[in-house]
Amino acid sequence: MYKLSDNHPDQSKQTGVVRQANSVGVGQTAEVHQAGRASHASHTSQASHTSHASQIGPANHTGAAGRRVYLDNSATTPQDYRVTEAMMAFMTETYGNPSSVHQFGRVARTAVEKARGQVADLIGATPEEIVFLSGGTEANNLAIQGVAHARANKGHHLITTAIEHHAVLDVMEDLAKNGYELTVLPVDSEGLVSVAEVQAAIRPDTILISVMHANNEIGSIQPIAEIGTLARENGVLFHVDAVQSLGKLPISVIDMNIDMLSVSGHKIYGPKGIGALYIRKGVKIKPMTLGGGQERNIRPGTENVAGIIGFGEACRLAAEGMGGAFAVELLRDKLLNGIVERISDVVVNGPLGDKRMPNNVNVSIKFVEGESLLLSLDMQGIAASSGSACTSGSLDPSHVLMAIGLPHEIAHGSLRLTLGKQTTEEDVDYVLEKLPPIVERLRAMSPLCDCAASQH
């Protein structure tokens, strides 16, 4: 059993919160690191933790099993302990159904509506424009399918980009097989969409443009406000997948002329299984599920009350902590520059400067393969991810790395390290110490590399 904070030694007793070291970094199935595997089996750790991450889980600490450094925060984040605290009552004594008339229900309803306001505040929306649902994937599905079906009488043309998440691309491609026409815009070598190309793609029968705010793999930030203006001028609805940017970049659905925006709880130190779709007042979308009328009939089903409360609190904390992005960016630069300085033949994937997410490092390390890198890093306690085919479950490397024009062998050697608010300079130093010898070892094994001495 693991206490989250030295500063709050009695918290776990007071609230009965169960806190496990290895539940903080629950990775997606494609990742090979320890935190991801721990999500499939309960696990306790006796390791002591450092106090720097007192507000959120002890994702990174030194313990009996060696140091653990979680740099896969774009896959998921450790849940902030204040989020867990906010949720606890709604997983125990406050169990009413928000739709019920009695006081049990009313208490839950009040809390859900407060959380709706917290989510709305973070993106500059009004509470009634927020629909809670299960997460980013469902939000993207509902936005795109909902608009395509509601506006089928106006047109059948959809526009998106080649580097969207599969929760957008797959929905778009499915619609394209069922009577809709789809334009998938290319991106440049830095993973940026051209506003002029969006403009050129708009037709009289275009009903929807969907462009992600920030890319999950290479961290490129798209010109959302410019595309929003263009969409509004042309009477086309504009959907933005903001799962990666929420809480990290300023978002104003009004200023950016966004009609629908997908967001998720677990990317911002909130719970998994909760997200929201912002739908601008007046925008009609056809629900995918029918039932009891919750969430204005757009997403019926009894609310995930504890999840909603946690998501609301996570949004509140994100708004508070927005200024911390600069500190993360400094660490990111140290990590990125450190890798490029210490290892030869490294390609940086994605843009540099203010068009890159402040927490994203993505490099291709030539002559080595991504999964081998991840396995080797995992053995040193470092959690990362890769766009290699071996980690995608298919034979092809990431569609994002292909879209920015990387050759296959370079794409297979990609390494993504995504920092979080719990990341410390010691974490960065540890990675910079461990990564070069790992690369050297793998390169010594590689038939693509005659570089016996790859370090410089």
């Binding site: 080595v368 393969e369 991504g370 396995l375 071996c390 034979l395 050759p407 094994m445 038939p447 693509l448």
Partner: protein, 124 residues
Amino acid sequence: MYSEKVIDHFNNPRNVGEIPDANGVGQVGNAKCGDIMRISVLVENDVIQDIKFKTFGCGAAVATSSMVTEMVKGKTVQEAMSVTNKAVAEALGGLPGEKLHCSNLAADAVHAALNDYTEKKMRV
């Protein structure tokens, strides 16, 4: 996802490298799928005296390469030709399902090296 044996062979691969005076070299796989294995052999009196590998690929690709070198070293050419990819995977205690079709090429690489040896011998 990987067995302990796979992790052991990945961490401590046997017979890594290239034989300078090899009399058979074979390479399989391609960069597109992300796995390339190169095996060099030194065959004397029809017996594999030495074998080394170099592999670009995932954990399974490295481990199968390492394992196959152990399995065929000291064997006759004919014995080595009868070692299958399936047998290599089994010797490692199995591989995750998705790896069986993409990264399980090590026996093919040995066969390619031995075919190269046989062809060179016939030309002499």
